[in-house]
């Protein structure tokens, strides 16, 4: 026992000599399932989070790492326990977690709020989690958040994209192989399951997992034993599975492309990430967040978004969800040379597809004053067409006076003249 542990438990090393560790540590891990009962000479180190009660009767959150100690013959001689006091970490975490965020996930909508309430509880369990949601909704981030808030956070978080590799490679990548298992297998390879021991394996795009590997995954979920390619001996690994997909697995099951029994096993805890268009109020929040982020990163002096651009973005449906919103803001911050992001700083593709993408087909014609001229822009088929329409509207409002029209548009008089010439507009 070193001095830190003496201070933590309130018991000196001399007193503790010859006493079983459970009586000294007084951890909840000892009572529930002492990891030392299963530890063997060739067992990988085990990491668990729990709490201890010290001599001053205080409950202290801790992370304990159990490692076997072997003698020269390779026999188990004992074990070493490293106890980490988590009080400081927990305090920082509670300060860091804002009311509208969970790690990198941000949102104030009721759907996200519900999710934020659920995640800490789910993280503490060891159940398999299935994360579903459209592309760009933050499935990967959520999986990482679950891992970071779990007792396995000290272990590895290994991500595997099931759709990124061909079937033969994927099997070796996931389960590993023995030397000589196939041509080119010159040495043992541990595989992602082995690497994720004591941690979490995140299988993204699980819907793209070939049927043959679905069976192997199913077998693992049953007994937590993996069989590397070319090996007859199974390896017991302690891994939590988090799977994610943007596909409808129910439909895939009906079509015979996904095993129903695997779906049942993965579907222990299902977290559905809502698309951004359904997250009421989150567009504004995320806009401000990303604007602040990129303004600082690119060292720009951007104060905010104009009401027109903000309104346009609020009504845009964001088929690419949060990822698209982030990219849009990054683009706009890059393009903008002034202090306010205007509609013209937004990517042109948003207007090209605006007919389909502006939610509920609402026109922005309800805007009064100057905004009215720009508000109809999203209805234009292309950027030049929209720009032409903007100029026409401004001229109409200014009753043909170019100075006034340039003011309305926020342009210089020469810019207006040049653009009018380009679009063949005459007054």
């Amino acid at each position: 026992m070193n001095r830190s542990l003496e201070a933590l438990t309130g018991i000196s090393g001399l007193e503790a000599k010859g006493v079983a560790c459970r009586h000294i540590l007084r951890s909840n891990l000892c009572a529930a399932k002492c990891p030392l009962n299963t530890i063997d000479a060739d067992t990988e180190p085990i990491c668990r989070e729990g709490d201890i009660i010290d001599r001053s009767r205080e409950r202290i959150p801790v992370r304990i790492n159990f490692s076997p100690v072997v003698d020269e013959q390779g026999n188990l001689a004992g074990w070493m326990e490293c106890v980490e006091d988590l009080r400081g970490t927990r305090a920082q975490e509670s300060m860091r977690s804002g009311a509208y965020s969970l790690g990198s996930l941000i949102g104030c909508s009721p759907q996200m709020d519900q999710l934020f309430q659920m995640v800490p509880g789910i993280a503490q369990t060891d159940s398999s989690v299935l994360v579903t949601g459209e592309t760009g909704t933050g499935k990967d981030i959520l999986a990482e958040m679950i891992h970071e808030r779990s007792a396995r956070s000290k272990g590895a978080f290994i991500k595997v994209n099931c759709g990124a590799l061909p079937e033969t490679l994927l099997e070796s990548e996931l389960f590993g192989h023995r030397r000589g298992a196939f041509t080119g297998a010159t040495e043992h390879k541990p595989g992602r399951f082995k690497l994720a021991h004591n941690g979490t394996l995140f299988l993204t795009e699980i819907g793209d997992l070939p049927l043959s590997l679905q069976v192997k995954l199913l077998s693992f979920l049953d007994d937590h034993i993996i069989y590397p390619l070319g090996s007859t001996k199974g390896v017991l690994v302690d891994v939590r599975i988090i799977a994610a997909t943007h596909r409808d697995l129910q439909t895939m099951v009906q079509e015979g492309r996904f095993r129903q029994d695997l779906l049942f096993r993965l579907n222990v805890v299902r977290l559905q990430l809502p698309p951004l268009r359904d997250r009421e109020g989150d567009v504004q929040l995320l806009l401000d967040h990303f604007l602040h982020l990129f303004t600082e990163r690119f060292q720009k002096n951007i104060q905010g978004l104009s009401s027109e651009s903000r309104q346009f973005l609020r009504r845009y449906s964001f088929p690419g969800n949060v990822r698209e919103l982030r990219n849009v803001v990054e683009f706009a911050v890059n393009i903008c040379t002034g202090t306010v992001i205007e509609v013209r700083h937004l990517p042109a593709y948003m207007f090209e597809t605006s007919d389909e993408s502006t939610s509920k087909g609402e026109s922005l014609s309800d805007n009064a004053g100057e905004r009215g001229s720009q508000a109809r822009k999203p209805e234009a088929a292309s950027w030049p067409e929209m720009e032409r329409q903007m100029i026409m509207d401004a001229l109409y409002k200014a009753k043909g006076r170019k100075n006034r029209a340039a003011e309305i548009l926020g342009w210089g008089r020469s810019t207006l003249w040049r653009k009018m010439k380009r679009y063949g507009i005459e007054t």
Binding site: L25, R26, I52, R57, E58
Partner: protein, 109 residues
């Protein structure tokens, strides 16, 4: 004569008051002789249930190892003497109690 409750794991005092399901309850005379004893089993480990058990059984003394301050204070408030952070077997703890040298934090190896 005192009624004593000791949360136990096998023959030993349980490492934690809130983490064990068995409680030794007995009547012990001044000389340390056990007049009556029995083991009660809780449905699940719970500090609240253990406190309730101590109350229901009209216990005078609780001898335990790790206990959180809130339960320690509660039992004291209920006029139950708590001797905590005791490491050792039930038998040695009772002997020590009879000798009146059982104190908080004692290790009876």
């Amino acid at each position: 004569m005192a009624r004593i409750l000791i949360p136990v794991t096998g023959e030993h005092i349980a490492p934690r008051f809130d983490g064990c399901t068995e409680a030794w309850i007995g009547r012990v005379d001044e000389l340390g002789n056990i007049v009556q004893e029995r083991i009660l089993v809780l449905a699940h480990p719970s500090a609240e249930d253990m406190c309730q058990l101590a109350m229901n059984e009209h216990v005078d003394v609780v001898i335990c190892n790790g206990i959180e301050s809130q339960y320690f204070d509660y039992l004291q408030w209920k006029k139950i003497q708590v001797i905590d952070s005791v490491i050792g077997t039930v038998e040695r703890a009772l002997d020590s109690w009879a000798r009146k040298d059982l104190t908080n934090g004692i290790i009876l190896t």
